[in-house]
Amino acid sequence: MDYSFALQQLVYGLTLGCLYGLLAIGYTMVYGVLRLINFAHGDLLMVSAYMAFFGIAIFGLPWPVSFIGSVLLTALLGILIDRGAYKPIRKSPRINALITAIGVSFLLENLGLVLIGGRPKSFPMPSLFSGSIVVGTINIPALSIWIFIITSVLLVLCVLVVKKTRIGIAMRALSRDMETVMLMGIDKDRVISFTFALGSSLAAAGGIMWCMKYPAVEPFMGVIPGLKAFVAAVLGGIGNITGAALGGLILGLAEVLIVAVEPDWSGYRDAIAFFLMIIILLTRPTGILGERLPD
């Protein structure tokens, strides 16, 4: 394996890792606040992709309008999923919410199948994101650069929101003690809605970039990325935003590099994520950046 080949694979790995990371942040934030693995989160990637696709292909909107609209509507859908499916069972045992999450996931996927059909639609890529830059012997797709920049900006924004803003501080407080947050006069459902909106809009940004990279939009496109992002969140330490991004990067790089080194293993590509998860759960269940909770 020569030098430029390795760098080239590194670019691909980072790109994929950014997308996993964006999706993983939503998992980790919702888990942090509600202790719920929101299995419907991956399907938001699919919903956002369809909305961006329809915005351009059917309503003829300019792509920035369509993309931003898709992000906002996905955020709204995130809030609606919480209010409609999770809020009514907030006081039930956690396993009920988990099963509900799986149910919501199936609902979204099959709704897509019934309403839109299973045939993959090819996503129209705006010219801004096509083409590539050649540096020496490495070919860097413009899309990869955009994905990297957008992910970094969103990650920094997200961390700032959680660290510095009032609602971000309330999110962190809520992750430890919901009852006392209520005693502060804080409407906890608003904080939870905000968490879903933030996580879902990141998933939407990831989803739109995902279907520019892999331009086939279909109802089950969110399943595997969703599971991988869940693994990334666990890998980084669930509940920790920086950890989720880091977990995403590690997973993306691992998948791409292992297949690059040993092309025969390309069939095992999806297994790598779950193998990593088993290792991390056996050796460091709190993840790379996860803190040990007192309870």
């Binding site: 962190r172 407080a173 992750s175 003690d177 009852e179 209520m182 005693l183 502060m184 006069g185 409407d187």
Partner: protein, 237 residues
Amino acid sequence: MLQIEDLHVSYGGIRALKGVSLRVGAKEIVSLLGSNGAGKSTTVRAISGLITTKSGTILFDGKTINGLAPHKIQRLGLVHIPEGRKVFANLTIRENLLMGAYYTREKTKLTKLFDQVYDMFPILVSKTQQFAGTLSGGEQQMLAIGRAIMSQPRLLMMDEPSLGLAPMIVADVFRIIEKIREEGVTIFLIEQNANLALKIADYAFLIENGTISLEGRGTELLKDPRVKQAYLGSVAE
């Protein structure tokens, strides 16, 4: 200011409160005494909306508040410091205090509140950027009180503020309670430490098995043989 009439609360099949009636007058310190499991915490938790009541009324400023969400009750000025302090261990001191003033948006008002709390608890000033989890029990209690002050309470309910604290710190806490009252805040104090709670109280209620069994002026109850025997021990001063 706060008036409770014939309050009933049940958990599952267990009747925790069986008709509690009490009242807290404006600018008073009123204590609620009782042993473990008598229904003290249930009473405050019902008042602040954390648990649903079965029957009875809770009036705050003449308005019924049963059934309101806890955050709405808090915003009426009825602030509850929970048992065990419950500071947010993963937040800094400053962030904890800010949570108390969540809806205070004006900068000047917020600065004034912070100054007021730091004046009251100078011990917190040098630690504003520390995580609350690193504080000692006494400091956490100070922080919990400070956080409640940030909410600008009109009535402050304190659930066992002396729990698990060294006697010297407990004395500090009680001095602070008196100081808060002097600033015009009504105090509803829930305590197991009957001696201190009665000395400080204008009026006190005794709760046993989910009903009020005795009430009277703090100084009177202090001399009452039943209180002496059950809560102060025979060696009461």
